[in-house]
Assembly symmetry: C2
């Protein structure tokens, strides 16, 4: 005889609780979710939950859903810890965390048209080259153990050569290999900045940078941008020196796509020098120029060791590599390396060797050419579709690199409703509100990830949705 269906649910939940996977105080999945999971009616779920409540294992709490309450002792997690998600309530920027989570989940749904993802399309992934590099790494492999604190020396040499081509002349001892640009920001936050110090940054700015700085107790101070980049005369410091830092994405800014002009770069450096304001230059999109080579990095004009420069292979090759770098004054790099040792003891040897081969073999530069061609085609497709379908509802700037178009929807339309409606129709976009409160009327559209056809269809759908939402 088969067990009744509600019993399956009861057993499932009891098992989760008894194994300690669902602890006291944690919320169990919603009735709707459980019904879907077990393919039963809502009423069957309710029967199951009632039995568990009678057993004293769970309890409904107003406004909190159903909570585990079995009478064993509570665990550390519930008692003492910081809830990182809850902590992210920003001053100037108020990202709507629930929307971010919704996007994160939706991003793994392959049935959606992804106009949100900040990474290159699988179509552009250089599979053959990656295989041949893995082959080479495998052939040349010798037994390996813990890597050097700053990262594999050959990789750092390759990065040093790479940077030379971009105007930055540093030796390998001033380079730290990190597991992606985000780790660089994390290490800087926990190791160099003081709690309560201020971070000046563009409004809007890269979403996770906000989270990282905030989690470590920094105060964010948003600076507006114009078409030439961050507005230098809007930066003013409220605190004495040593307490502030500037974080900027001067080249193909995320999410706006803005490219900081050469004279603006000079003005910014001049200002920061005068005000003794150190700079974190996040330059992960530099290699994705489409029209012309962008002005040289701030770091290339930094004669005082005041710029910490960050790069990565995530946006051009693959984020799965988890390889990036930080470049700065040797003493600062030493400190960050020490901290990196304490946090994960160095990056994966495989990833380091693969990255080294890409950079030093010249395959990386070849690959960039393909990427640029692809981005050119995709951008054209996106702009054509935008011009055709959206010109009466929205405005935008043409990005000269990167893969984001920052679209301002006319005030008559509610972007949040538009986002929900689009999602329900299978189209994923990033609403501007997740980057900054002030950006509520914007959406970030990525033309890097979806296929050409999806870009066309997606933008057309978007225009239809806008019309509908308007009705």
């Amino acid at each position: 005889m088969q067990k009744p269906k509600y019993q399956l649910i009861v057993d499932f939940i009891k098992d989760k609780i008894s194994k300690g996977e669902w602890t006291i105080g944690s919320r169990i999945p919603s009735q709707r979710h459980l019904a879907k999971m077990f393919d039963v009616n809502r009423s069957t779920v309710i029967t199951a939950l009632e039995e568990l409540m009678a057993d004293g294992l769970i309890e409904g709490k107003a406004g909190m859903g159903t909570i585990v309450t079995n009478n064993t002792w509570t665990l550390m997690g519930e008692q003492s810890s910081t809830n990182w998600n809850e902590k992210v309530t920003l001053g100037i920027h108020k990202p709507s965390i629930s929307t971010v989570q919704e996007i994160n989940e939706a991003e793994s749904n392959h049935h959606l048209i992804q106009l949100s993802k900040g990474e290159l399309s699988p179509e552009i992934f250089p599979l053959e080259e990656m295989r041949s590099i893995l082959q080479k790494v495998s052939n040349q492999m010798t037994p390996f153990g813990y890597e050097e604190p700053k990262g594999n020396l050959k990789l750092r040499q390759a990065i040093s050569d790479y940077l030379k081509n971009r105007g930055i002349d540093v030796s390998p001892s001033s380079i730290l290999v990190v597991s992606g640009a985000l780790q660089a920001l994390h290490l800087i936050s926990i190791g160099l900045l003081q709690r309560g110090s201020s971070v000046f940054l563009e409004v809007p700015s890269y979403l996770y940078s906000l989270t990282v700085f905030q989690s470590m107790g920094m105060e964010l101070k948003g600076i507006p941008m114009d078409k030439k980049g961050i507005k230098v005369d809007s930066i003013y410091q409220t605190k004495g020196k040593g307490k502030s830092i500037l974080y900027t994405i001067p080249t193909f800014h995320n999410p706006t796509g803005t490219l900081m002009q050469k004279n603006r770069r000079e003005e910014l450096l001049e200002y920061c020098k005068r005000e003794q304001l150190p700079i974190i230059e996040d330059d992960v999109y530099r290699d994705l120029w489409i029209d012309t080579i962008p002005p040289e990095p701030l770091k290339s004009m930094d004669y005082y060791g005041s710029v910490l420069y960050i790069g990565s292979l995530s946006k051009t090759l693959s984020p799965g590599l988890r390889i990036g770098w930080v470049v700065g004054a040797e003493s600062v790099i030493n400190r960050l390396a020490d901290l990196k040792m304490q946090s994960d003891y160095g990056s994966s040897t495989f990833s380091q060797l693969v990255a080294m081969e890409w950079l030093s073999s010249g395959l990386y530069d070849q690959h960039l050419e393909t990427v640029r061609e692809q981005l050119k085609v995709r951008r054209r497709t996106a702009l054509e579709a935008l011009n055709k379908h959206l010109s009466s509802y929205a405005t935008w700037e043409v990005p000269t690199g990167g893969f984001f178009i920052w679209i301002k929807i006319k005030p008559a339309f509610k972007v949040k409703r538009l986002f929900d409606k689009a999602l329900s129709k299978g189209l994923l976009l990033n609403p501007g509100s997740i980057y900054a409160e002030q950006s509520g009327q914007f959406i970030r559209l990525s033309f890097g990830f979806a296929s050409i056809n999806e870009i066309k269809v997606g933008i057309f759908q978007l225009s239809q949705i806008i019309k509908d939402v308007d009705d």
Copy 2:
């Protein structure tokens, strides 16, 4: 005409300063170091430094060496940051940081006999299998991007199966893939523990755990051990619940090699349950048993989700993989996953795929058999040599797994002098003082890394040095 040699040194240093690699306040290399670097006499170095001093670029400071002092503005690093190395001054444990640094540097010297390294010998590295796995990963590779927050699902499934064989029954959703066990400790410290909370741990304990907990502002409370493991009746809590946690390495403890007995494990769990003291179980040495399978993990007897369990492939396969895992209540794992996302956006795809193949193909278990045979031979070699040469100067316990022997040198001999002497003769050992003040009379000898012959020679040399130092 060639430049005079001193000019080369001047140019080198000016270049470092002007590029901002050596910032104001940073110490330049010692005269001895520079002389070696440029293959010149000390007097040539002095000429160069005098010229730079005359230029106002550097200055000698009493007790601090020569410092960069050029009159540009100081950078963030010097102003506001935490010096992580300096911060590590422990209460109960007082690791001698300079000795640790000396060891770290000496560990990359291939001419030394390495009886210090906590990793397996390159001789045991499974190069052929690693190559064939890389081959397979390469063949099966598809374009990849950012991984799931908790790590590749197939890898988590493989870890779940692996853990089942070790008495721990958890689903992949309660497992977080991390970049090594150390990262697990780092994430726990920054995400779950509160500043000022107490960490109970064995005295002595794993060196980097001390640093991680301390860096995050935890207070360390050392608990003595006996032959059966941590002494449960020495644990007492001074603060209320939610403020303390216990960190333990029950299986082949680092550095002592102690294996916690089954009844001691039960006693510990019972105590922690009663006192509501959550546990971090660091079990990275479990698979390195030599004689018999060790008692099951604490986690296998944890019915209340109070144990966070940590494992890793570093000690059995290679630390270069940077793959480990944390297992715990789902809500805690979710929180740690969120934090992992914020700190590095997941571990390397390559490493995850390689680890998955090792675990799921059965090659890992086969490899463990080889490792155990090798460790058995190495342990025998070490013990024979110890018995032959050191029995009148020292005492030790025979470890039943792992690769450390914790040797107590008779009080008549100064271990610090012994360490220095040994190093100068090409023999690297870890003095107990780096783990705990109380362990000054111990040395940790690893039989995992050096070759069989080096183990013999090294231990013989050690006995000679002890005799000499005694004179």
